[in-house]
């Protein structure tokens, strides 16, 4: 065997013992009828796919993540574009401002949003002062809207930074070349800028979409009774109900969704570049 192999053996060992083996244990559990001992069965998966409740929850999780991703693109792209191609100074300050929230715990941020969004909270007061809403309460907290707002806040830095990097790499003279060939701003955006930043948009989308699928903290704290998603189901199974076998099955299904969506998105990125 090649001696150089030993150089990578520590990370490989760590990866196998703390990632691959647990994953197989989890998959194994998902096929057991009860706890760590029961017999092999497909019942856990059947339970999931036979109940409309779980399928609806799956769809809700996917559509929420999709919405979060799309909004992140819509906010993130213009921001990244301005940073990469419009302004000359102050980029670093903006980048730092985007990154700082990373250093705060997700839990703390979720509770901060609770304070901001609750009825009678800061957002309501500001909106009322601006005469955007009347005397009725805001009614955002403990709805899906609150969850989406918080998820966008958490994940959009990934989007901005990846798109920023792809735009930064792109030669500005391409945009100028397009204009010199009589293409207006819209055509230039559609035919040059967008296709060339597609890899960035897609990696950003993977970085936003995938973790959005598995969240459970924000739905719990901000989503109220409406909040359940696949992530909260898994958490409940493992920590509240001790239904490890079903929990493992759901986790494995989520992993498959992640796997399929990542594959599809990456295919997209590779096309004709």
């Amino acid at each position: 065997m090649n001696k150089k192999w030993w150089l990578v053996s520590p990370p490989v060992f760590l990866l196998i013992s703390f990632c691959v083996i647990p994953l197989f244990i989890m998959v194994y559990y998902s096929f057991l009828s009860d706890g760590t001992t029961g017999h092999l069965t497909l019942q856990n998966y059947l339970n999931f796919f036979q109940k409309g409740f779980y399928l609806k929850l799956t769809w809700k999780t996917i559509s929420t993540s999709l919405l979060v991703t799309i909004i992140c693109i819509l906010i993130g792209f213009p921001m990244a574009y301005i940073m990469a191609k419009v302004i000359n100074s102050g980029k670093n300050i903006i980048l730092i401002a985007i990154i700082i929230p990373f250093w705060t715990s997700q839990l703390v941020r979720a509770y901060s949003w609770q304070n901001l969004l609750r009825d009678g909270g800061i957002l309501e007061i500001i909106l009322r002062k601006l005469h955007i809403i009347g005397p009725e309460p805001l009614g955002i907290l403990f709805t899906q809207t609150a969850v989406i707002i918080a998820l966008i806040h958490i994940f959009f830095p990934y989007m901005v930074i990846t798109i920023y990097m792809s735009l930064e790499k792109m030669d500005t003279s391409l945009i100028e070349a397009s204009k010199s060939l009589n293409a207006g701003p819209f055509t230039t955006f559609w035919r040059i800028i967008l296709p060339l930043s597609k890899p960035g948009i897609i990696s950003g989308s993977i970085l936003v979409f995938v973790p959005s699928l598995g969240v459970f903290v924000e739905p719990r704290i901000l989503g109220g009774t409406e909040g359940s998603v696949i992530g909260t189901v898994i958490e409940d199974q493992f920590f509240e109900i001790y239904g490890w076998n079903f929990g493992a099955a759901v986790a494995f299904i989520l992993l498959m969704i992640v796997f399929i969506s990542t594959t599809v998105l990456s295919k997209f990125a590779k096309e004709e570049v």
Binding site: E176, A177, K179, S180, A183, G184, L196
Partner: protein
Amino acid sequence: MAYLAIKNLSKSFQNNLVLDHINFEIEKGTFLSLLGPSGCGKTTTLRLIAGFEHQDEGTIHIGGNTIDTLPPYKRNIGLVFQSYALFPHMTVGQNIAYGLEQRNFTKGDIKKEVSKALEMVQLTGFENRKPRQLSGGQQQRVALARALVIKPSLLLLDESLSALDKKLRVDMQIELRQIQKEVGITTLFVTHDQEEAMTLSDQIAVMKNGKIVQMDTPQNIYKNPVNSFVASFIGQSNFLKGRIKENSQFVLQNGSTFSLPQQDYSLYNQEEYIISVRPEKIRVDQTRPSYPHIQGKVKFVTYIGNLSMYLIEALGHDIRIQQQNDSYRDQLKVNDEIYFSWNASDQSILTE
């Protein structure tokens, strides 16, 4: 008014005056090179004309109309960038078709125009390649075809050949000039390479610190530079600084004196002048001649095949002389005592 007229064009970046009231005019079909050291404002001039920056002062006219208020995509100016700026996600054919599509050409016309353009730059059959599958010279040609296919009113090239290696660059210079003449397009070419500017241009505008120092044909600039900057930027020259006295005597700053070639010097007053003489215009004698001359000693010899460069020590200066290596002329050797002189018509008397 001339076809392209630049009037009083000025531009500052953060209080730093980069273009200082530039003026020039060229006729239709002219190939003009903007030549100058890095940072003198050449690119800025092109970017103002293309519309990517806006001038603080002055106007730009093409064909009698001002284009000052038009956005870049309405100026109808062809551009070739130093980096070529080919769209990497499009094929060669799509790159060239891009400008035609913006002008609502029919599919059939686009196809015809694209293949004509490819033929012009000798790249027939390359339609379906991606830019990254082409060599530097081929990319350069695609960029040129893409800029010309829209039949622009003006072609701008910014150091477009600098990225190519020497041999390819010379080939591309010739090809560019041929195509330019064929199409008859008015062209503005930016370069810091004087040889390139000499090879290509009908006219050269020498720039320094945001100003045009001299604009003329390559021959005239070479023969009659307006100052020592131009004389040393375009080709090489010897500079002797001093005062002209009566009897055509020239007194150098270090006190040594020699006789200038026969000419009327009454126009020149008592101020300091710089005499500029090109190395190849100096005549060498190995016996003392009867006409005005300077005595010197060969310090260093560089053999360049058909030419030799000599460094001569004379009058406390280093004088460069260049000579053809003809069969009837002896090569000079180090420490040879020589006598050199030049014709009055080959010297420039400069004030700065």
